[in-house]
Subunit: 342 residues, 2 copies
Amino acid sequence: MGSSKQNSISAKPRFAVESYIEGILKKDRVMLSRAITLAESNLSTDRLLAEELIQGILPYTGNSIRIGITGIPGVGKSTFIESFGKYLTSINKKVAVLAVDPSSQLTKGSILGDKTRMEELSKDENAFIRPTSAGIALGGVANNTREAILLCEAAGFDVIIVETVGVGQSEAQVRSMVDFFLLLLLGGAGDELQGIKKGIMEMADAVVITKADGENLKKAKQAQADFQHALHLFRAAESGWIPKVLISSALEKTGIHEVWSLIDSYQDQMISKGYFHSQRLGQNIDWFHSSIEGRIKQEIMNSKSMQKKIKETEKKILSGSINPGTAARDVVQAFIQSLSLN
Amino acid sequence: MGSSKQNSISAKPRFAVESYIEGILKKDRVMLSRAITLAESNLSTDRLLAEELIQGILPYTGNSIRIGITGIPGVGKSTFIESFGKYLTSINKKVAVLAVDPSSQLTKGSILGDKTRMEELSKDENAFIRPTSAGIALGGVANNTREAILLCEAAGFDVIIVETVGVGQSEAQVRSMVDFFLLLLLGGAGDELQGIKKGIMEMADAVVITKADGENLKKAKQAQADFQHALHLFRAAESGWIPKVLISSALEKTGIHEVWSLIDSYQDQMISKGYFHSQRLGQNIDWFHSSIEGRIKQEIMNSKSMQKKIKETEKKILSGSINPGTAARDVVQAFIQSLSLN
């Protein structure tokens, strides 16, 4: 283990693990960025280095509140996060915003420049904004983001916001890595659209009705009442927490303080109940299980003989002589046999 | 291989693989249903039997058009599929509707009874409606549905409709298993909501604006023009196909025939270009790769010594002494070593 020298295989220069750790603990943002990039790499040498790094910073992690924020495009997510983030830095919190976009796994498309999305926040020296590059990340974009959370915590960020981006594929993933899950909704967007939110609403610890200003205010208040009622109906959370519905206007800067107060009181209650800690532990176990698959696939992909077997098997599939499921079994059997013969 | 006897480990009685194949080829729906249930099972004995079955019916598969249909709840998806399905059976097509709901992996919630959702179609003797149970399916709900498609094809269904259900996590998965991907949209639902559709729109071969009747008709026609314009802008598909936008009313039964005509002409064009076949082959390769992970995870889970190792490692994670990623690597290394020692 331990590639403590610069790694010539990597596309970008790497540092010794100690340099990353030192830089991060010194709150060096360039080093933090590079560490996140390292953790996103699929190169096996990078993975080893990243794991050493994560293991090394582990004692310095955990001291943040991790907040997931979701909502359909058009709900004003970036605007809300910008206002919320600015509020937090104004009360001396250090805020990291991580954006998760699993959809780009398919389309290879990238998130619109995050800097332009949250212009003011990105200039704030107590804020750090970073999209998670998707690619074909080992263990999925979720594990990359989990590692990014830990790295940000070690770098001293008090509030980690994990934002879902894209076509709604990421809510469950984000829910599995945060302490508090916030759903942004529009008031008066019509009953027709409530359905899509149901599955997501079940995950929410709070709902914020955005754009609650001017002519929208009345609609927003009505939506607040409706959703509060709905949330009472279908949630009897393990934590005992009853999700709250708030309204906010980024334009008039209203409701932002209330959102933070709510999250703060959630954290207090959940810590005293022991739920805060137990939820995190459960999330770590989920992370562990989802990582096992990724790691073993990497083992297969790193083996030259298996690469050859996979290519041969692909030909059989293309000729139609074998179905993909059985073909996968054959490859796995061959892998196991190759190990047994070593 | 080959558990040709009833399998006493299974929760439900299993048949010999020949019985399943015979039943399916005879178009016996009860047997088809049971075969799909078998293919959804995670028991390793069931998996072996299911793979034998899939391999056995393979020569009888492929003779359908596979259509993915998505759209937010409220768009009238069930109503559209019911009308579309009834139209297809009226022109002597046999139609299978498979519903994919990955969200229930998390919530363990199940789809609203599909029978009530499509009441008329479910009574049609040339239609077959079946939700894919999610559970913690091996290789994910996607592979279950892929196998269900093959089973329905062997049972003589001409049109397989794969419907996405839930909170929008499944579009990319469904796109990866169908020939034609149809997106249902509402006219006049507001620009605010167009964002969510962008990632999905890139996958669409056609868009249908639903509820194009009465007062909505004008809005629907406007939306048709707008979306047609938008689709021209961002799609230069590998297939050379330019996605079309149609309007339909389930209430007035309009536009249904046009949707089928479009799909029919798509199929003709793509077959003559060779794209139809090459897309399916590419999808099989994807299926193969996504199956490898699931199979190897099963190997680990079936090993008693590994189960023990996993339990021990979970304790270390809970004590905070190791991070989940490194823990996963340790487990995989132990697995590989255990094989090498055999």
